[in-house]
């Protein structure tokens, strides 16, 4: 059984981080596990943790009166969950639910913040890792906002001969213009 300090360098999030820095942040970490359906955190609660997923799957979800509960993202082994520990007022904005038995390394957010305040080099290294993941998530979220597979915005005549339906002119072809 490997210790957290031994495991973390193998996790994609920490890949390339200075081993000494990994050892410092590992001091803020504990192993945790969640059963299917168990929540890692709930919207509105104090955000005092950050999770590195080792196995299983976590769903980030939000509840609305009309749509009900919607899953907006998932995190699998190799992913990380939770940024709210980093940004005041340190409250979760989404629910995180284990959709299958999940193992993770949980970091104490306050502990990590303290170490980053004390060691700006460590803080910078950690922020670079966090920024990389946040950048990828932001790009993915923006592309998904386009609703590329939806009916009204798709433009591929081969895939969904949509409104640009390449229809030979005909009085009945009233929806031939792209939106």
């Amino acid at each position: 059984m490997r210790t957290i300090e031994q495991y973390l360098p193998d996790h994609p999030f920490f890949a390339g981080m200075d081993p000494k820095a990994v050892a410092v942040v590992a001091a803020c970490a504990t192993n945790v596990s969640f059963k299917t359906g168990e929540f890692l955190f709930r919207e509105g609660q104090s955000a005092d943790q950050f999770f590195v997923v080792r196995r299983g799957r976590v769903a980030l979800q939000v509840h609305g009166p009309a749509a009900g509960t919607m899953v907006v993202d998932t995190a699998d082994a190799g992913d990380v969950v939770g940024w709210s520990w980093l940004v005041p007022p340190y409250r979760w904005l989404f629910d995180a639910r284990a959709v299958e038995p999940t193992g993770a390394v949980s970091f104490d957010g306050a502990c990590l913040r303290d170490k980053c305040e004390q060691d700006s080099q460590l803080g910078y290294e950690l922020m670079k890792l966090v920024t990389h993941v946040m950048f990828n998530r932001l790009v993915a979220a923006r592309v998904r906002l386009l609703d590329l597979y939806g009916t009204t915005k798709s433009t591929n005549p081969l895939l969904s001969p949509l409104l640009s339906e390449t229809v030979i002119s005909h009085p009945g072809a009233t929806d031939a213009a792209p939106s």
């Binding site: 959709v99 592309v143 590329l148 597979y149 949509l162 409104l163």
Partner: protein, 284 residues
Amino acid sequence: MLRQAEGRHMLPGGAMVPRLFRLTDRHQDTADTFTMMLEPTDGVPLEFIPGQFTMMSAFGVGEVPISVSSPAKVDGPLQHTVRDVGSVTHALAHTQIGDVVGIRGPYGTGWDVEDGAGADIVLVAGGIGLAPLRPAMLDVLRHRQRYGRVVLLYGTRTPEDLLFPDELKRWENLGVEVLVTVDYGTPSWTGRVGLVTTLIARAGFDPRSALALICGPEIMMRFTAMALIKRGLSPDRVRVSLERNMRCGVGLCGHCQYRELFVCLDGPVLPYARVAGLIGVREL
């Protein structure tokens, strides 16, 4: 090299005349997508290569380009998977068993998946883009020993929009690594939620030699190609199926012209290296 349609300047006689195909069966894949099983009324099967498309007519309404979704070089009906989104496809959706539709083609280039012999094959589908990739997957599975690992990365809008779910399971049972993600999930969905590009880092393939085939909305293909190249694939080993407005299908009308390319003839399947400089150019 991808195959070119033969003789841009030597069009076969009757290229604009559709052949007649009778609808023998129909499968509702999702709420708005269905697969038509078609048999030629003259008894002569349509020969095509995976990745090609036909111009499909609903008589009295119009004509649309639709990729072939059935396996190539195999007995059985011609299959077209169609999304009901416009007047022609709506008319096709309401075609009854026994009705006749028109088919011109097949046209364009194919995936030429055999170029991946000896290497890993990565298919990346977005939405209904799985349908044009299906013949390539079936071709790979028919000649499974020729290839290394086979990976399918499939992203779609919701779990209800998943195409060919039974076939996805069958492919998985045949050793294909099938990774699926959706844009929007419900609590009952236990699969992945997120962009299809996020699957690329998880898939098991050797980027130094793998051949990747991408089909989906153009923006999705652009981001996917970039992610594959970032992982190590050569742009020459990434192929995309381009989307452009097609009318004649035989390089006459120019509707699908993409600078020096006629997508109906030079495409729809093209190496990403050939179009990387064109994709994203405005007003092209």
